[in-house]
Amino acid sequence: MLRAEDISMRYFRKTGQANHFYAVKGVSLALCPGEVTILTGRSGSGKTTLLHMLAGLLTPTGGRVLLDDTDLYALPDTELSRLRGAKFGVIPQGRSAVDTLTVLENVLLPGQLRGERGDAEGALRWLDALGIAHLKDARPAELSGGELRRMAIARALAGNPEVILADEPTGDLDDENTEAVLTLLRRRAAEAGKAVLLVTHDSEALPYGTRVYRMECGALSAL
């Protein structure tokens, strides 16, 4: 289980009288195995910031993030990085392809970085499930936004991570692919017992969630 305990992210920026503001303010949240947690909210409300802090990618200015009983940000960088590679599958917002690698190599990369041999068959199964197996030898530069997004999803899922953190994974997908991806994520939780966080402002996604939260000005409220 991944838990955020009262975490905050404070940035320095002139807003009114204060010279700083909170992108995330005192949020506590638990992502449980077998559940899909959905996070919605307006653009700029702090969703990405929260997701990055949960993923061990951004050090909070306050609070703790615990994976089971391990305080992520108390770990040395090498340990935290190893843990991130082994336990987390992160689908970031925007482009995240390594341009010099093919689609298949991109999907195999996390495993290779962990020092594994690289399970090409498994990777191809994920590409197939997302409908882009035919692009396995293409370079990211040749792909459309939706195809790149699905490649990133395949890459995040291929390592069989305990925690899946997806930042607007259906943002540039058509309806059909949106449904396929949402179904896939729900099945990771329901059938494989993974903890899934789904950041979205797609109302269509809400039914897929076990719990749904709404983010507003850095604060979290249950829907």
């Binding site: 910031t49 990618l57 990085s81 970031p92 341009d99 970085l113 962990r114 890459r155």
Partner: protein, 399 residues
């Protein structure tokens, strides 16, 4: 990173970017290596010539001054055809403060006589000589006999062969080590042989005897006694022997040596400036490359690469670029310098002798290591800058 072979893939699959970095590095390495070789060659050329012509004073006929410049005579080892009566030698020996006075007689061969190039024939007195004899003895220790010659390294005839000079057959008994000067095209013989050659040349109408029957010499090389002042000896010789000019060879060497070390210093400053500039350019280039790729690097961090792992990835890339650039640069500089040794030598008009292979290897190795170090420094610097930001912050940018 092991299995992913990321650095190699990143370099090979972005050939334009890689080529630019390699080229930049090669330029740096080439200028450093090439510059060092040229400066080193000048230094060694001068040292070698100084060792060969280690005389304090050289006495020549006064008319010689109009025929050759003394500076050329010393620096290039070129000789001329000028003569004075052999009695000058006794006069020089009688001067106060003179320890050794060794005569030399010069004769130029006819062009098609023996060799492809016109050679200088230099007669020495093996008993007195202290300038070329030690050098000849490096390759031939028995002393030059009658009609035996020792040849400079650029004379085509080899040891054991016969060299025909003015219809006279001489025996090549030694081939001398390279000096990087005109002495490399000279042929050395003893004074008896020289007399025969002079007579043979005269028979062909190519000589300049002063008075028929008397012996001639071209120059007297003087070593002064310890404690004697070479300037005073020089003045005395100029004042007391008629129709000769005495010049202070060593001081001339010191002059040239000084100006040469000036050149070397300037070259070092220049090479240093090239290094500094290249260092800055490399640092900026690598920093720009890494800044442009910071999102890609943040993605690697997201996928589980630690700060240290990322630094190693970047260092591996910059080291590979640096190594390739250094090897290419040293290779190109070698191709640009070594085949043109003769051209450089004639262009700069200074003795020029390529350093020994060991020195060259050290120089090449040093250049490669230094270039590699610059690449690593640039990589480490860029990686350190990169690791100051959390990957989460970079991933948010422009997403």
């Amino acid at each position: 990173m092991g299995r992913a072979h990321l650095p190699v893939k990143n370099l090979l699959r972005k050939p334009g970017r890689t080529a630019a970095l390699v080229l930049l590095t090669a330029l740096l390495a080439a200028s450093v290596f090439g510059g060092s070789v040229v400066v080193g060659s000048l230094r060694r050329g001068l040292e070698s010539l100084e060792a060969r012509l280690g005389a304090d004073i050289i006495v020549m006929p006064a008319e010689a001054e109009s025929k050759v410049s003394f500076k050329n005579l010393l620096l290039q080892g070129t000789t001329g055809a000028f003569y004075m009566d052999a009695s000058v030698l006794d006069a020089v020996r009688g001067a106060q403060g003179v320890e050794i006075a060794a005569p030399q007689t010069f004769l130029a061969s006819l062009k098609a006589d023996c060799c492809a190039i016109k050679v200088q024939i230099i007669g020495i007195d093996p008993g007195a000589d202290f300038t070329v004899k030690p050098w000849i003895e490096e390759s031939y220790s028995r002393g030059l006999g009658d009609m035996e010659v020792a040849v400079g390294c650029k004379v085509t005839a080899g040891v054991g062969e016969t060299l025909k000079i003015y219809e006279q057959y001489t025996h090549v008994v030694a081939k001398l080590a390279e000096t990087g000067t005109g002495l490399d095209t000279a042929v050395y013989c003893n004074m008896d042989t020289m007399k025969k050659l002079l007579a043979a040349a005269e028979a062909k109408g190519v000589t300049h005897r002063l008075t028929s029957g008397s012996d001639v010499i071209s120059a007297v090389y003087v070593k002064v006694k310890d404690g004697a002042d070479p300037a005073q000896v020089n003045n005395w010789l100029n004042g007391h022997i008629r129709k000769v000019t005495a010049v202070r060879a060593r001081s001339m060497f010191t002059d040239v040596s000084d100006s040469l070390s000036g050149i070397a210093r300037a070259a070092r400053v220049l090479i240093g400036a090239v290094w500094a500039l290249a260092l800055v350019i490399l640092l900026v280039a690598f920093a720009m490359m890494i800044r442009e790729r910071r999102r890609e690097f943040a993605v690697l961090r997201l996928l589980g690469v630690s700060r240290r792992g990322l630094r190693d990835e970047i260092l591996a890339e910059t080291a590979l670029c640096g190594l390739a650039g250094a090897l290419i640069g040293v290779g190109v500089a070698a191709l640009g310098v070594f085949p043109f040794t003769t051209l450089i030598e004639t262009q700069i008009g200074l003795p020029y002798l390529t350093p020994a292979p060991g020195t060259l290897l050290t120089l090449a190795g040093g250049t490669v290591l230094a270039t590699l170090a610059v690449g690593l420094l640039a990589g480490a610097w860029a990686a350190a800058r990169l690791s100051r930001t959390d990957p989460g912050a970079t991933l948010r940018e422009g997403a």
